[in-house]
Symmetry: C2
Subunit: 303 residues, 2 copies
């Protein structure tokens, strides 16, 4: 069987999926070995891919990497311990007959949703991933937008708060990530719950709980969600004013809050964006944690 493999390298886990004709046949994951500047990661991937392959023929292999990538060159990946590396050449050397695609992980996830997920059939798409941080990817005319230095779609660091901004881990102030990530939502909850009678007054509060309590009518939780969606809608308006996508997809763990989140953002967006981009659609991602391997596979299939 002819197969394409999609790989998603995360800071803690590497996911590998074997696909035939766009169908996920089998997947496997291993821990990311970041010791010795991540020097074992590539061979670990080759080993898992070889195991998954068995008697199959590898037509292509796509890899999503947590760092900026320009034309197949990884410029660095802090979480892995990597500096600049020509990953395309390394992979081509190991699999000389396969098409090879190396892309940024957020871009891979976006590509996955565009080719096989919620944005199938759309050609101009922005995906915003709301997880521990906030990331993003942009697809224009069915092509990933890498940007000059592989950093297009770093939408988590758009400034959305200026009066009393939180300091971001990137060194800037008021970044979207500080308000719309899971961590940001919990921070807002801690701030707003003070001295209030609310279900938010518990230890180890999670972002999921904030949304659950809000859906169940807890007033302070609703305030937290309103604040988060105000910032997210403002960020989305800015993004749409710049690149004018057809669809903005909300993905990542926080997006499990579902239609409750998506509709609030879509409604607030309309009041904050330029009138000519007002009919931008909002959708929830559907591939979950598999978006990266789907997108990496799709990138390889286009080589």
């Amino acid at each position: 069987m002819k197969v394409i493999v999609g790989v998603d390298i995360g800071g803690t886990e590497i996911k590998v999926g074997k696909f035939n004709d766009g169908q996920l046949i089998e997947k496997k994951s291993i821990k990311t070995d970041t010791t010795d500047y991540g020097s074992r990661i590539i061979n670990d991937i080759f080993r898992v891919v070889d195991e998954l392959l068995g008697q199959d023929t590898l037509e292509g292999i796509g890899i999503g990497v947590p760092g900026p990538v320009v034309k197949g060159i990884v410029l660095g990946a802090q979480n892995l311990g990597w500096e600049e590396i020509d990953l395309t050449s390394k992979v081509k050397k190991h699999y000389p007959h396969a098409h090879v695609a190396i892309v940024n992980d957020a871009n891979a996830a976006t590509f996955g949703e565009v080719a096989y997920g919620s944005a199938k059939g759309y050609h101009h798409v922005v995906m915003i991933t709301l997880g521990t941080g906030v990331g993003g990817g942009i697809v224009i005319h069915d092509q990933l937008l890498e940007g000059f230095s592989g950093s297009a779609g770093e939408v988590g660091h758009i400034r959305v708060q200026e009066t009393n901004p939180r300091r971001c881990s990137c060194g800037l102030f008021g970044c979207l990530e500080q308000y719309a990530s899971a961590t940001g939502v919990v921070k807002t909850a801690y701030e707003l719950r003070k001295g209030k009678n609310t279900r938010l007054n518990k230890a180890n509060l999670t972002c999921k709980e904030v949304f659950d309590f809000a859906k169940e009518g807890d007033e302070v939780s609703i305030q937290v969600v309103e604040s988060m969606t105000d910032y997210l809608a403002s960020g989305c308006a800015t993004i749409a004013d710049v690149v004018n996508p057809e669809v903005i997809i909300l993905g990542g763990g926080v997006s499990k809050a579902g239609a409750y989140l998506c509709e609030k953002v879509a409604n607030k967006f309309k009041k904050l964006c330029f009138y000519s981009v007002r009919n931008t659609k909002f959708m929830l991602a559907t591939l979950g944690n598999d978006a990266g391997i789907y997108g990496a596979m799709h990138a390889a299939s286009k080589q």
Copy 2:
């Protein structure tokens, strides 16, 4: 002689340039006749082009239009009185043997600077036009980014002020245009000069005067310029975070303030953008009012 014609339709004037091998041979301009919903504009253009052509062979014609354009269809142009119109077909009918390109005017200007102006040799470029309003264009991999509904690059309506925002003519609040356009600069000057001993205390103050006085050391004028460049740098940081261009070009009348403006924005930008886009270059546009005809011509030459 084989020529390509570039046309730039403005709200008050239509510019037409005849080019041979990228060189501007001759140009002409006429008033824009916006009566009867701009119904005479197209024939006026044909007449001027025919006059300019003489015995030359028209290889291509490009037209920049002040409104959103998607794949050669003008979706509307308020200043001209136009609703949706398939301008490509109309022009092809009149010049059946010529390559025809219809683009948005801000995009045309950007394309001009990329192909023949300050950004020659760069492939990922954002141009911000600082005039009466603030407009923009984006070129990625040498291609204009139109966006899903022809509105990519509407950077004048990014929100950069939230605490005490000015109302914009678009209906939104705190748009970049309200602070970084010539009109915006004068508004800020009127606000800051109140009760101050400053050269800004004169009637019919212009944006050029504000910059001139600032360069000559007038304290309040310097404050106005600092405020304007804070907002502009903030907008540029957002744009760079989203599309990660190699170069941001500052054009339009306000950009005549020159290196004084450009350097201030570039320095402030570095403190506001995400670290991975910090080496984005800043340049001043060089084609002035001819950028549009150069860009329209260039768009036609690529058809």
